[in-house]
């Protein structure tokens, strides 16, 4: 299969950076540092480029063509970000930050109360504590699960009460309930642990698959990086 030069070069660049990153598991070396610095540079430059594109066509264009001059306002306020680096005019930098924080905070607050507070409460409230199916009759397992969810949600909430001290009877009850919560969360975190393993492994498998597209670049670069890292390690040992 004929592969054009750009694709081939792409495969090599991909392998260089992927293996350079992985070489950290062998030892810290020049390839890893090179990969790390490249990543910082490219990600900041990428974000800056798309930001430029957005400003250019959403705000600057309408102002230049006279279609919507009001965009001059955010352009000017946004430009105040530059004063972040001025000791004297630092205070100007606070204006765009104030607008951005305020808008974001206001939106998050109004949305959170329904999406993460009330809807979660309502979902718990709706659980029947005695489950009867029209066809199958009484459902003991579902009933038990609903009871468990009810108690475990309360336990988790109770665990995070901090202003009730355990001396009072209410405090003693809360801390007992909270104990259930702590155990519930241990099971939940176990589940989180297992699922994190899945994500990380899948990501590695994804990169591994891409590396296997071409054996020459994969094995060749891997060998090169291993040799260089070993030599560097020996030199560092001698120097020390």
């Amino acid at each position: 299969m004929a592969v054009d030069l750009a694709t081939m070069l792409g495969i090599y660049v991909y392998a260089l950076f992927a293996l350079g990153s992985y070489s950290f598991t062998y030892k810290d070396n020049s390839f890893f540092k090179f990969a790390e610095h490249t990543m910082v540079a490219l990600s900041i430059a990428y974000n800056a480029s798309v930001a430029y594109g957005y400003i250019r066509f959403t705000a600057v264009q309408p102002v230049i063509t006279g279609k919507d001059a009001t965009f001059l306002i955010p352009l000017v306020i946004g430009a105040l970000f530059i004063f972040f680096f001025s000791k004297k005019y630092f205070w100007l930098y606070r204006f765009p930050i104030a607008v951005i924080t305020g808008t974001g905070m206001g939106l998050a607050m109004s949305g959170t109360i329904s999406a993460q507070f009330l809807d979660q409460v309502v979902a718990t409230v709706r659980l029947p504590l005695y489950v009867v199916d029209k066809v199958l009759g009484f459902r003991p397992m579902d009933t038990l699960n609903n009871w468990l969810i009810f108690i475990m949600v309360m336990g988790t909430l109770a665990y995070f009460f901090f202003s009730i001290t355990p001396e009072s009877s209410l405090g003693a009850a809360t801390s007992k309930l909270g104990l259930i919560g702590r155990w519930t969360m241990m099971v939940a975190f176990g589940s989180a642990f297992g699922n994190t393993v899945m994500t990380r492994m899948n990501l590695f498998i994804g990169v591994y698959k891409n590396l296997l597209r071409d054996y020459t670049s994969f094995l060749g670069l891997a060998a090169l990086i291993l040799v260089v890292a070993t030599l560097e390690g020996q030199r560092a040992k001698k120097a020390a």
Binding site: G10, V13, Y14, F17, G20, T25, K33, A35, H37, M39, L42, I44, Y46, S49, V50, Y52, Y54, I55, R56, F57, T58, G78, F81, I82, F84, W91, F95, A98, V99, T101, G102, T103, M105, G106, L107, S110, I113, Q116, F117, Q120, N145, I149, M152, V153, M154, T156, L157, M185, V187, F189, G190, F193, G194, T196, V197, R200, L203, F204, G206, V207
Partner: protein
């Protein structure tokens, strides 16, 4: 110090913007709604300027490293590479935007090539380093030293077996029951635990919001008076 240089004015602006958003969400006031949409679209323009801060900060820091280089230490060369690449890729991005007359620099072939082959590789590989660390920590650090850690690890092990596509197969005819157990962990204790955490986090987010609104939380405005 003059009034407008202090933090009070920005705090008032923060509060006003937040209140506008809240009003527009809860009340049927057409003026508030259209004002809030306008502020939102303005904010989308403004927020893009913040990349300048990161951009200049990283260049400054690496310039300092180059200036302070020690004889015999070659690590300053990485800083040179970082600065050169950073500026070159931004210039390429601007060229891409201008030459294709679109907001997306990735419409430029070269810019997109670097994105797909270099940035995607780096991002994926750096984050997947964790796969290795999880493997070694599983062997060397994740020990059931307490009952809690024991419960966590057992729940984790069941989840892993359940997640592995062929994991439950080792149970042979009992595989469906094992899958039920995996589902149960996810849907009952895990769900209940995370529901509690979510409700707590929602309250925490609202609390942070009101502290910012009332000027009791000022970290976001930077140091100084």
């Amino acid at each position: 110090m003059s009034f407008y240089k202090r933090k009070e004015l920005p705090i008032v602006i923060t509060a006003l913007c937040a209140l506008l958003m809240i009003c527009a969400y809860f009340f049927k006031i057409p003026e508030a709604k259209s004002a809030s949409t306008t502020v939102q679209t303005w904010m989308l323009v403004m927020v893009n300027f913040s990349v300048v801060v990161g951009f200049v900060m990283v260049i400054r820091m690496h310039k300092r490293r180059i200036d302070k280089r020690q004889p015999g230490d070659k690590s300053w060369l990485y800083s040179v590479w970082l600065i050169v690449l950073l500026i070159a890729y931004v210039l390429l991005g601007i060229y891409g935007v201008e030459s294709t007359r679109t907001a997306a620099p990735t419409n430029d072939w070269t810019f997109n090539w670097v994105f797909t082959n270099a940035l995607v590789a780096l991002d994926s590989a750096m984050y997947s380093l964790l796969a290795f660390f999880i493997a070694s920590a599983s062997f060397r650090a994740f020990k059931a030293r307490t009952k809690e850690a024991g419960v966590l690890l057992i729940s984790g092990a069941i989840t892993m077996l359940y997640n592995a596509p062929a994991g439950s197969a080792i149970f042979g005819p009992l595989a469906p029951s094992f899958n039920d157990l995996g589902d149960w962990i996810l849907n009952v204790p895990n769900m209940a635990g995370f529901r509690g955490i979510l409700i707590g986090a929602a309250v925490g987010a609202i609390s942070l919001g009101i502290r910012v609104l009332t000027g009791r939380e000022r970290g976001y405005l930077g140091a100084g008076e």
